[in-house]
């Protein structure tokens, strides 16, 4: 086995892990705070990608910059979804949550289909072809940027949750809703912010990856499944878990593609998921679920 190939597999795996982490961070926040299973997560990301595409093609805004605007739009969408729909099913049994978010996912995916058509597309960005060679290994700058943003985002969210008042209230509401209300927390507002931030994260993920990941409305479902995979492995509700989980899954898939048949690389991540579910269901960094 070619050692350069293996080393490249490791590098590529880690870099792409940043993408996975970006996707997962938003999902884990939503679940951690509200215990809601956001089945529409992947479709929110796809809308982030299309928004980025619109900005790039209609207004000439480079995705490397435009992702902030996409995140902001997705924040508003997420908060609206929460206030309008999710709020009503926060206490409902799991099946109802899943069905509701599935309905939302169907609507988002097919609205995108009506608006943009079914063909896959990509966004040109200044980062697209930029590659840095380190000896025989290469580093894709677009992915490195996504990785850096994922790190910054996870760190930023951590600061938000532990150092700001709103963040503390959010964690309080996550642990004990009644107690949080007793100390005067507007739980509904906290939930709306949490969902909004979660959506903003995945919107940013979409916007940044739109320059190197071909996307179409149909991508939503597989992105949702992949996000759940990562969040379970990393630990529901843990930011560090989402980040590490993303890296781990991506690395496992990449090395799987190096040593085995690449079309089987999903077997690696699903097997990992099953093992984690059985032996450590809270994931690598999660807390015990009540």
């Amino acid at each position: 086995m070619d050692p350069v190939l293996v080393a490249q597999g490791v590098v590529s795996g880690i870099l792409f892990g940043g993408v996975y982490s970006l996707m997962a961070v938003g999902l884990t926040l939503i679940f951690g705070v509200m215990r809601v299973i956001n089945f529409a997560h992947g479709d929110l990301m796809v809308w982030g990608m299309y928004l980025s595409w619109l900005l790039a093609t209609r207004l000439g805004v480079d995705p490397a910059v435009g992702f902030v605007a996409c995140a902001a739009c997705l924040y508003l969408l997420g908060a609206a979804l929460q206030r309008g729909l999710v709020d009503r099913i926060v206490d409902a049994p799991h099946e109802m949550q899943i069905l509701l978010m599935l309905g939302v996912a169907l609507i988002l995916e097919n609205a995108a289909l009506l608006a943009f058509g079914p063909e896959p597309t990509r966004v040109r960005s200044s980062l697209t072809a930029w590659t840095v060679w380190v000896g025989p290994l290469f580093v894709d700058m677009a992915r490195l940027t996504a990785f850096a943003v994922a790190l910054a985002l996870a760190a930023g969210l951590g600061l938000f949750l532990y150092r700001t008042d709103l963040g503390r209230r959010m964690r309080a509401a996550a642990d004990n809703v009644y107690g949080a209300q007793v100390i005067g927390t507007d739980v509904r507002r906290v939930y709306a912010v949490a969902f909004g931030v979660g959506a903003a994260c995945v919107g940013a993920a979409g916007a940044l990856t739109a320059s190197f990941l071909p996307f179409s409305p149909a991508l939503g479902l597989s992105a949702s499944v992949a996000s759940f995979n990562i969040v379970i492995i990393g630990g529901m509700g843990s930011l560090v878990g989402a980040f590490v989980g993303g890296l781990l899954v991506s690395l496992a898939e990449s090395l799987g593609a190096v040593f085995f048949r690449p079309s089987l690389k999903e077997v690696v991540s699903f097997s990992l998921l099953i093992l984690i579910l059985l032996f450590r269901p809270t994931g690598l960094y999660g807390r015990r679920l009540p």
């Binding site: 190939l5 490249q8 590529s12 009506l114 896959p120 990509r122 149909a218 990449s254 190096v258 079309s263």
Partner: protein, 425 residues
């Protein structure tokens, strides 16, 4: 984009059509029966779902063909009967495909045309056999679709074969690809030895890959397939797969892609600076469509691929391509729209010779088809062999030159000379 020939909104005509369709769904076909002097052709494609793009192209191709047939006076042998298309959507799901076939037959469809993906097409075969509805497969490459029916007739379990296909099969794709590869290498005066086959691991990709590998084994040409790399479709990252290909020091990379994977694969090949003579595909979508060219630009330049292709030397084809581009919002007239277009004309030709709407008469006429008016590139007239396939339905090697797909091989189809090996970057 959405079908431009139908404006959004619901004008009265379409409302009535929808109402009629709804009445039909309640199971009362009598409502729609009283329409003389039309021959109803059920046209079923996946216009929504993951294959919506080619599905919509097929539908538009069929619609344009029907309009052309009707403008020329309809089916004269049936008293000038107009071709009326009953449209169905399989959503790329076999059970929906079967239901749609039943539905259009219920509305009076006397023949079926469809349906692009092999799963839905296979699900429609029983409907055709059960209800004695001649079924012309315009696009679908899985060999068993027709072969199974032929075998059932041969072994006496079915009386008549109602399913015919005017499209290359998986095995013929493979044979021709290997042949073209060898011929082009020879014509170019180079002797590449190492070919790496990379393909998308879905129904289409596997079918093509198998056909290619089997044909290679049978032909034993002077070049080898040194590695085979399948990826899960759609992929999110192909950097490792391309690195693996590069590690094999290939002379040629032979990709079988879908549009999404092509958008990842070709930039990755460029980024990793794979040194080789060129990218030559055994045949797949993703390497020539207008949308792909707009997205991939220079990454597609000089890429060769062996696909069923319109015969642009025919003057009619060029006019048609322009009209198609207008009606579809800028799309290229290619495999999908083309074969559906030809399919309708094959149907019309069979009807002319049958002189009746009786299914068995139509089947007899189909079997004797010898149609030379096809607009696609064929290796001879359109005929059907004992399996129900057209052995003259062959692919053409096209190449992206000047950001346009152009036929370059075989010689009788070539509009330009091919460029191989590709120029150094």
């Amino acid at each position: 984009m959405t079908d431009r020939t139908l404006a959004p909104g619901l004008p009265r005509r379409r409302f009535l059509a929808a109402a009629g369709a709804t009445a039909a769904t309640l199971g009362f076909p009598a409502v729609l029966r009283a329409q003389p002097r039309t021959f109803k052709l059920g046209v079923v494609h996946p216009v929504t779902g993951p294959l919506a793009e080619p599905g919509q192209a097929c539908r538009l191709g069929a619609q344009m063909a029907a309009e052309a047939v009707n403008a020329a006076g309809g089916i004269k042998a049936l008293g000038g009967a107009r071709l009326e298309l009953l449209l169905g959507d399989t959503q790329t799901k076999p059970d929906v495909g079967r239901t749609e076939a039943e539905r259009v037959v219920n509305q009076g469809a006397q023949m079926l045309l469809g349906s692009f993906d092999s799963g839905s097409t296979a699900a429609m075969v029983p409907v055709a056999q059960q209800r004695r509805i001649p079924f012309l497969v315009d696009i679908a490459a899985a060999d068993p679709i027709t072969a199974n029916v032929a075998r059932a007739v041969k072994e006496g379990q079915q009386k008549v074969q109602y399913v015919y296909r005017n499209f290359p099969t998986g095995s013929s794709f493979g044979r021709k690809a290997v042949q073209y590869f060898t011929e082009i290498f020879k014509e170019a005066g180079v002797a590449p030895k190492r070919v790496v086959l990379m393909y998308c691991n879905d129904l289409f990709g596997q079918n093509q890959a198998r056909g290619f590998q089997a044909a290679h084994k049978a032909a034993q040409p002077g070049w080898d397939i040194v590695e085979v790399i399948p990826w899960p479709e759609p992929p999110s990252d192909l950097s490792t797969e391309v690195a693996r290909a590069k590690a094999q020091k290939p002379d040629v990379i032979a990709p079988i892609t879908r549009p999404a994977s092509a958008q990842l694969l070709l930039p990755e090949i460029r980024r990793q600076r794979v040194e080789m003579l060129g990218v030559v595909g055994p045949g797949s979508p993703g390497l020539y469509e207008a949308g792909q060219l707009a997205t991939l630009k220079e990454d597609l330049e000089h890429v060769l691929t062996s696909v069923p292709w319109p015969n642009f030397k025919h003057p009619k084809t060029r006019t048609l391509a322009e009209e198609y581009a207008r009606r579809s919002g800028g799309k290229t007239f290619d495999t999908n729209s083309g074969y559906s277009y030809d399919g309708v004309f094959v149907v019309a030709d069979a009807l002319e010779r049958a002189g009746s709407a009786d299914p068995d008469a139509i089947v007899d006429a189909l079997k004797k088809t010898n149609y030379t008016g096809g607009l696609m590139q064929y290796g001879g007239p359109i005929v059907f062999n004992e399996l129900g396939d057209n052995p003259n339905a062959i692919p053409t090697m096209i190449q992206i030159l000047g950001q346009k797909p152009v036929a370059v091989w075989p010689r009788e189809a070539a509009l330009q000379k091919f460029v191989f090996p590709r120029p150094k970057a």
